[in-house]
């Protein structure tokens, strides 16, 4: 491994870890909203769900709280529940048709940042472990396999991009999309006899994507007073341009995971000959 690569990689990882630590402690020292702790033995599950989630609509929830105030906490059963219609309901809280995505990226976006960082660190560890292993020579591929992998590669890449751009509408999202992109690179590594995967470029792309993720979170912090808050209007549920920040973050996560896993696959095949 080249020294500069390693240094830049560790620098970015360190920056991410420090940022994570800062936000962690910031969350610790915030005052709690209610000010009193419920007794554990008679906690109702309904009390654990936020009003925004019950109403599924930010604007309605604020209006309801402004008029009814504390009465809401005493009488939960009278909260009006809204029906959600695909392609019609506007300005939903998170606006994503896929509930899993809204939980992973919107409610627990911080968690996802941690997961992506863990993946990054594990790929760095893999690179260190693999270093010094000799490359296994594969036989010449036949014409069919060579041409077939060249022919199919752009379409596989397109499919990966489709999965992570439509993460808020269909199942999938950043992680499966990245895995599909990495499988496209795996096909090229298997099918072409002299394909060289450029690990330096992939590491740069990955680091840029990570920085963009944190940057989006910081914009949320400045505009909505909370790290990774959804600061873009959420649009109509079921449309492509909806869900605000969820789609944006999944594009970033897809690019990052794709670059990371491709690097891992390339290291596994070629070994590391620099060090």
């Amino acid at each position: 491994m080249k020294k500069t690569e390693f240094l830049t990689g560790s620098f970015i990882a360190l920056t991410l870890v420090v940022l994570l630590g800062v936000f962690f402690f910031q969350a610790l020292f915030q005052p709690s909203y209610e000010g009193k702790v419920m007794p554990i033995d008679n906690v109702n599950l309904k009390d654990r769900v936020s009003l925004h989630y019950v109403l599924k609509n930010v604007n309605d929830a604020s209006k309801y709280l402004a008029t009814n105030g504390m009465r809401y906490f005493n009488n939960r059963s009278s909260v009006p529940s809204k029906t959600i219609t695909f392609g019609k309901t506007k300005n939903l809280e998170e606006g994503s048709a896929n509930e899993v995505t809204s939980i992973v990226v919107n409610y627990r976006g911080f968690d996802t940042l941690g997961e992506v960082t863990v993946l990054f660190i594990s790929i760095i560890g893999l690179t260190m472990l693999i270093g010094g292993v000799k490359e296994k020579k594969l036989r010449m591929p036949s014409v069919i396999v060579r041409t077939g992998s060249k022919f199919l590669f752009p379409f596989i890449l397109l499919f990966g991009v489709y999965i992570f751009i439509h993460g808020h509408l269909t199942p999938g999202g950043g992680f499966p999309g990245g895995a599909v992109i990495a499988s496209g690179f795996l096909l090229l590594l298997l099918g072409l006899e002299n394909f060289k995967f450029n690990t330096t470029v992939s590491k740069v792309i990955e680091s840029l994507a990570g920085v963009t993720f944190v940057g989006i979170g910081l914009v949320g912090l400045f505009m909505k007073n909370s790290f990774l808050a959804n600061f873009i209007p959420t649009g109509t549920i079921g449309f492509l341009y909806s869900a605000g920040m969820v789609a944006l973050i999944y594009i970033v996560v897809g690019i990052k995971v794709g670059a990371e896993l491709s690097t891992g696959v390339a290291e596994l095949k070629e070994g590391n000959k620099n060090d």
Binding site: I144, P154, L158, Y162, L240
Partner: protein, 168 residues
């Protein structure tokens, strides 16, 4: 056509990938169209080098017509192949005489060889085992003559003349 320049390959990739994007996201909407154009342009920017034998000239009407004629022919051959295999599988005595024979092709380009090999694999009782230069090694499930000229005419001939309309 092997030396089609970068722009022509990029354009080919752009058109094909954008159309495929619209097929993926079928209920047509303008948002999908814009996204598809951007994604297609971006992906084909750095995968254009893999479209070796394609370019703007691939959109010539004669070539598209050749492809459209080829599709029903290959589908019909696949159905015939399957009926043949079904008869062999269902007969109690398994009437097979397998052999690996050779045949020669006149196609020059890699992509043409790939299409021909895939067609051979999908059609009656034949399976491409390997290609070395222009010699195909074909595993046959049932063959009466192992002569190379006979094999070239009977197995390759029927696809080659249709394939030559759109690949070299």
């Amino acid at each position: 056509m092997n030396s089609s320049n970068y722009f022509s390959r990029w354009f080919f990739g752009f058109i094909v990938l954008s159309l495929l994007w619209l097929a993926f996201t079928f209920p047509f909407s303008l948002a999908e169209l814009y996204t598809g154009l951007v994604v297609g342009a971006f992906i084909s920017l750095f995968t254009a080098k893999y479209f070796e034998e394609f370019g703007i000239s691939s959109f010539a009407p004669s070539k598209i017509l050749g492809l459209l004629i080829y599709i029903p022919i290959i589908l019909w051959e696949i159905i015939k192949a399957n009926i043949e295999v079904a008869i062999i599988v269902l007969s109690p005595s398994l009437p097979i005489e397998p052999a690996i024979i050779t045949a020669k092709t006149k196609l020059k380009s890699d992509i043409g060889k790939m299409f021909l090999a895939n067609s051979i694999t999908l059609t009656p009782g034949t399976l491409t085992v390997d290609i070395i230069k222009d010699t195909y090694f074909i595993h046959c499930i049932k063959i009466d003559k192992t002569d190379e000229r006979y094999a070239t005419e009977s197995i390759i001939g029927k696809f080659e003349k249709h394939l030559r309309r759109f690949v070299k």
